[in-house]
């Protein structure tokens, strides 16, 4: 009886929380298809269609604004940033995890601190670098700058994953005839694959969600990303293109939310650096 009651309370709480989490997304999705007359009438219920829904605002977003360009720029920057991040943080994290003594741990923490410096402090000096390299106003400025956020974060994340791979596997590989590098490639890397997948999603998301650098370093519409381009091109003066704004946000949010949801457990494991976690999930 008590058990059943506790169960009930548990599911009620769960349902409440789920509604709380999904509510903004649902409201956004509903809004996307609303006609202006429907949306702007304060007497109408905002959660139902008082007038037939329309695809007009979606069409507007893709045909009359630069949103497709923003999407392409964001995707392009994201992919390149992910590649750079992996190329730098996988070797860094692996070597830090295998570094004997206290310095491995300390360097790992030092690298993580870099991530904690807010971009608002860094964008002025970074802008000087960007203009010195003559890449200001192009996507390359962001490709150059985003790794300053993603590399420390991903190195820290991967550090936990590599630490959870027991050294014995690599030693066995060495004895089985591998060189140091091929032991890393054939044994350590495949075992840290969940961590690398997590890194790809997070590096991509971090580069997508940045606003400050994107707004400051790039002013031409052709090179803007979603996060900086959408607010500037869909808010004109004091007019908000609400339905198109919501559409622009939802299109990016939902795939990312799904990816986050799938990888959440792995992420938490990476942060806990539990030595058994990697082994268990791998086995």
């Amino acid at each position: 009886m008590v058990l059943a009651l506790r169960r009930l309370i548990f599911y009620v709480m769960l349902a409440l929380f789920a509604v709380f989490a999904v509510f903004p997304v649902i409201w956004m999705v509903i809004t996307v298809f609303k006609r202006n007359v429907d949306l702007y009438n304060p007497n109408n219920n905002p959660f139902i269609y008082n007038l037939p829904p329309t695809l007009g605002h979606l069409e507007f977003l893709f045909t009359s604004t630069s949103y497709p360009t923003f999407l392409w720029n964001s995707a392009f920057i994201g992919v390149i940033v992910v590649i750079i991040t992996l190329l730098l943080s996988v070797p860094a994290a692996y070597s830090l995890s295998r570094l004997v003594g206290r310095w491995g741990e300390r360097s790992g923490i030092a690298i993580f601190f870099v991530y904690l410096i807010p971009p608002t402090l860094l964008f002025i000096p970074l802008y000087q670098i960007v203009s010195l390299l003559k890449v200001a106003n192009t996507v390359w400025s962001l490709i150059l700058v985003y790794p300053t956020i993603t590399v420390p974060f991903c190195t820290w994340l991967l550090l936990g994953f590599f630490k959870s791979v027991p050294r014995e596997f690599e030693e066995a590989a060495l004895i089985d005839g591998c060189s140091r590098f091929s032991a890393f490639l054939r044994v350590a890397l495949p075992l840290a694959l969940p961590g690398i997948a997590t890194c790809i999603v997070f590096a991509f998301a971090l580069s997508l969600s940045d606003y400050i650098y994107a707004a400051v370093f790039v002013s031409s519409t052709a090179s803007r990303t979603v996060s900086a381009g959408v607010p500037t091109s869909l808010i004109r003066g004091d007019i908000y293109y609400w339905q198109s704004l919501m559409a622009a946000a939802v299109i990016v949010t939902i795939p990312l939310a799904v990816a986050y949801g799938l990888l959440f457990d792995r992420l938490v494991k990476g942060f806990q650096s539990d030595p058994g976690a990697g082994e268990k999930s791998a086995a």
Binding site: F169, E171, A173, L174, I175, D176, G177, L191, L193, A282
Partner: protein, 347 residues
């Protein structure tokens, strides 16, 4: 198959010598067990033989060829780890084929080899499984198969049985030894379990504090320990060590017996012992006693047969006798073995 030679091997971590000058010569096809308490340096020594750890000084020779500065892959040694270290992301068959693949053997040849070793170990039913779905004993067999598959010149075992159940372990000991006899590969077997070392090794090296204290056949080590460390380490229960006349006398508990009626044998040593406790071991009894006439409290252990034990009661005092030939003498300060002197023993 090859000989293994270690010359003056040392390993220093900071100010601490984990291995402090080890010389060993292992013959072709020999099964050498390295036995010692944890922290004695046996694991470090083994890692240096495998090439996972560079020695601070000294030389390693395999088959007469110096390999001190060669990486593990160039030594053709194979190793079974304590945890087996089976690659969790590969199936059993892939695990076994891995050493061949790493050496660039063509697939058809690889398959033949894997099939041969899988048959040898009797693990045909496991090849498609992942290591996570194997029992301890199965993992051990797969690890053995993986180390066997490429005809190594030297086998290294790092406590391969320690994660098995006690019952499986006794079986596995026999199987391992049989496997060695069939393949004839020179083997170094590191363990802290004296049953394994004495039961399987052709010779046993006993290590303590980074040094080999004694090297010999199991019988030699048991009968003639080189010092008090070996005497107190080997045997369960270990040798009784008692201080008399500025030296240490040692004798095995099975040689300490209650004095029978009649005359004493020439030179036999008599102890007045108060029996503290009797412990049933199955085929025999273990007697915990305290020496009554010694200076200070000297504890003694005796192993006696069932009929003898039935006449003993805890709390009573009894005379116990050790034959002269069963006594071993050690120096009081160095702990090293000394020849029995002609000096008469006080009783």
């Amino acid at each position: 198959m090859a000989t293994l030679e270690l010359r003056g091997i040392k390993k220093r971590f900071g100010d601490f010598y984990a291995v402090d000058g080890v010389d060993l010569m292992i013959a072709e096809g020999e099964f050498l067990a390295i036995l010692g308490p944890s922290g004695c340096g046996k694991t470090t020594l083994m890692r240096m033989i495998a090439g996972l750890e560079p020695p601070s000084a000294g030389e390693v020779l395999i088959g007469g060829v110096p390999v001190t500065h060669l990486p593990p892959r160039a030594r053709n040694v194979s190793m079974v780890f304590q945890s087996y270290a089976l690659y969790p992301h590969m199936s059993v068959a892939e695990n076994i084929a891995f050493p061949l693949k790493a050496r660039g053997m063509p697939k058809s040849e690889r398959d033949t080899k894997v099939k041969w070793v899988v048959g040898l170990m009797g693990i045909e039913g496991l090849v498609k499984r992942k290591p996570g779905r194997l029992s301890g004993g199965e993992k051990q067999k797969v690890a053995l198969a993986r180390s066997l598959v490429r005809d190594p010149s030297l086998f290294i075992f790092d406590e391969p049985l320690s994660s098995l159940d006690a019952q499986v372990r006794a079986m596995a000991r026999g199987e391992l030894r049989q496997l060695h006899d069939r393949t004839g590969v020179t083997t170094v077997y590191v363990t802290h379990d004296q049953l394994e070392a004495l039961g399987m090794g052709d010779r046993v090296a006993i290590m303590n504090r980074g040094q080999v204290r004694q090297l010999g056949t199991p019988q030699e080590l048991y009968d003639d320990p080189a010092d008090t460390f070996v005497a107190a380490f080997l045997g369960s229960p270990p040798m009784n060590l008692i201080e008399r006349d500025n030296r240490i006398i040692g004798f095995r508990p099975e040689y300490l017996q209650p004095r029978a009626d009649g005359s004493l044998a020439q030179g036999a040593l008599v102890f007045k012992v108060r029996i503290m406790q009797l412990e049933f071991l199955g085929s025999e009894w273990l007697i915990y006693g305290v020496l009554e006439d010694g200076d200070g409290e000297n504890r003694l252990l005796a192993k006696v047969d069932q009929p003898v034990a039935s006449k003993l009661r805890s709390g009573e005092s009894r005379d116990f006798v050790v034959e002269r030939s069963c006594l071993r003498f050690f120096d009081k300060t160095t702990g090293l073995r000394i020849a029995p002197s002609a000096a008469k023993l006080t009783q």
